[in-house]
């Protein structure tokens, strides 16, 4: 690994704390990831990305900026990446998944707020994230009240542009969201100085569609029994998708999928066939939140899918541009419509998400579903009540878990999961 200290200093990082954080990573990653058995060799690339977590990719951002390019931070799969790519800008997902920066977030924000917001905010306040530091501006969105109000405060640290999400899925809401997408186009054009033409946007759509298609391939392969890849590894690929270069990432995921296809043909898996299969449904799991996956996979079970923004909710697609409507307007409609098929819990009513959970449980042959909510994540906490009822009616064992990024409840969660596994097996 190269020495990035000069680059980090230039980005204004708190070097002392940042060093301490990075020094802790290899041991954790080694324990959770490198110790796994029967790992696909295609995970080598993702191991490398983690070993360079604040290095090689940040260097690419810095080089891009040196040539006049812009870097745009995002926190939600509703922010249209296609538009960012079309303007030759780089988008990076900034959601925080680390306990370490939560107290920094709490220096500013109230404590009774979800750990995702506090962690991300804390990364900025404490100057611990080079991606955050490299951003020319960040894009917030109104997916929950906590985020909505946090953006007003974040704007004091970094220019924060906010997209308003509708809360229903009627034609009026579609029209409103289209307006937001168009306003975002203007914002990106202004920030980058690059005009987003229909040709450029077509290329942006193609790139991001290809990325989603590669990830969908990876997910489809997890339907096999024995499953050819661990939930931990698949989740990691998904987490990295939010900040890696989209073209290179797509290539690597496709290479991994090729290898997994062969494994499925040979009947090879990370765990024996018949290992209890878990669908994880709920709040996002930003890097490095691996806590629940490691509890599940440390207990003779395997996670086969995540119904999450860091999972299947990112994968709706492709973007279907209707032939009759040519040009930018049709493309933007297609982007907006595709996005509204992403069934975030911020919508009401949100019966489509319930259908998704049930469908995914069947497609991935889940033996049990964990309804996971981050602490204080009201939309997912409340929807879990409905989802649990539905799944129980269908006879699918369900476990509701609410947790944060800390390790203090791991023993308790293990007990609950092990008991759940005993229920599945009995």
């Amino acid at each position: 690994m190269s020495d990035y200290h000069t680059m980090w200093a230039d980005l204004g990082l708190d070097l002392k704390r940042h060093d301490a954080m990075l020094e802790a990573l290899p041991a954790i990653y080694g324990d959770l990831y490198l110790s796994q058995e029967n790992r696909p060799t295609g995970m080598g690339y993702f191991d490398f990305v983690v070993s360079e977590i604040h290095g090689a990719r940040v260097k690419e951002l810095v080089d891009h900026k040196a040539q006049g390019g812009k870097v745009i931070g995002t926190f939600c799969v509703y922010v249209p990446e296609e538009v960012i790519v079309a303007a030759d800008a780089i988008g990076v997902g900034l959601c925080g998944g680390l306990d370490l920066t939560v107290p920094d977030g709490e220096r500013v924000l109230p404590r009774n707020l979800c750990p995702l917001i506090k962690s991300a905010f804390g990364f900025k306040v404490a100057r611990m994230c080079p991606y955050f530091q490299a951003c020319d501006f960040v894009v917030g969105e109104t997916t929950c009240d906590g985020k909505k109000k946090a953006w007003e405060l974040l704007d004091g640290y970094v220019p924060t542009y906010v997209m308003e999400l509708p809360q229903k899925k009627t034609p009026q809401d579609e029209a409103m969201w289209l307006g937001e997408v168009k306003a975002f186009v203007s914002q990106v054009e202004e920030a980058t100085g690059n005009k987003i033409t229909s040709e450029r946007l077509a290329q942006g759509i193609a790139r991001i569609d290809a990325k989603r298609a590669a990830l969908q391939r990876l997910y489809d392969l997890r339907k096999a029994d024995p499953v050819p890849i661990s939930g931990l590894d698949a989740l990691l690929a998904m987490q990295i998708s939010f900040y890696d270069d989209p073209v290179r990432f797509t290539e690597k995921v496709n290479a991994l999928a090729d290898e997994l296809e062969e494994k499925v043909r040979q009947g090879e898996g990370v765990k024996p066939a018949g290992t209890p299969r878990i669908l994880m449904a709920g709040s996002p799991m930003p890097i490095p939140f691996w806590k629940l996956h490691s509890i599940v996979e440390g207990s003779e079970a395997v996670v086969v899918a995540e119904e999450s923004c860091t999972g299947t909710r990112y994968l709706t697609g492709p973007t279907e541009v209707k032939v009759e409507g040519e040009g930018l307007e049709a493309q933007l409609w297609a982007i907006a419509r595709r996005q509204l098929k992403t069934h975030c819990a911020c919508f009401t009513p949100n019966t489509e998400r319930m259908e998704d959970i049930l469908r995914l449980a069947r497609e991935y042959k889940a033996d049990g579903v964990i309804l996971f909510s981050l602490q204080f994540c009201q939309p997912y906490l409340v929807e879990a009540v409905k989802a649990e009822k539905l799944l129980e009616k269908e006879g699918i064992p369900t476990l509701r878990l609410e947790t944060d990024y800390s390790q203090e409840d791991v023993g308790q969660l293990k007990t609950r999961f092990e008991a759940f596994l005993e229920v599945i097996r009995q």
């Binding site: 203090e408 409840d409 308790q412 007990t415 092990e418 008991a419 005993e422 229920v423």
Partner: protein, 259 residues
Amino acid sequence: MRIAGLDIGSRTIALVELEAGRIADFAVLDTGVNPLDQCQRLLSGKEYVRLVATGYGRHLAATHFADEVISEISASARGVHHLYSDARTVIDVGGQDSKAIALTPEGRVQKFEMNDRCAAGTGRFLEMMALALGLSIGELGPHALAAQDGAVPINSMCTVFAESEVVSLIARGEDTRRIALGLHRAIGRRIANLARRVGVHASVVFVGGVALNPCMQRVLAEELDLPLMVPLEPQIVVALGAALHAQTYQGGVENDRDR
């Protein structure tokens, strides 16, 4: 030779020995600061055909001496079903956890709920409150039952806040028996709500160390409006469940796995 179940809880360690399908012996010891030492004290000089560990220290036991581990939820269900074959709801309140388990008529776990990491609604809470009232944990329940003129309502469920609420109630000159009753009612409501989340059906069996508290038995029964069954030694039921599990796998006398 005997079969054993060992429940390593946060406050106590319980050992149950089975011989020919019957409880031959049992013991309960404080967990203290070194659970492994305490286990070795309980087990020294003993040999079992099979030993199954449960409770929060189960994995520690597995790396040292246990043949197998099961979760305390399954163990609790199993122990209760063995003692009360018509049990449909288990309320198990221990030192740091409270659990509610819905059982199928065959005694299998249908659904369970567990308190979150907070100590409210657990034995630990009652211990802290007994301390604030200058009582031993054994004195707390009878003290509360002696209250005249009803309970003093307690609003805080957080252990830290409740303690300061108790201190200020004492300073105000409130009768400590009425304060103690108020504490039991507050905790009873919380545990009853946990139980309602799995659905409460008769018979309801109350186990765990907190089930030894006569006032807790009463307020919980009142809260649920159902009679509660409390076994003679409620704190060893989980260990019994682990022992029964060991017996099944050993193929013992009362092989009841497929009942």
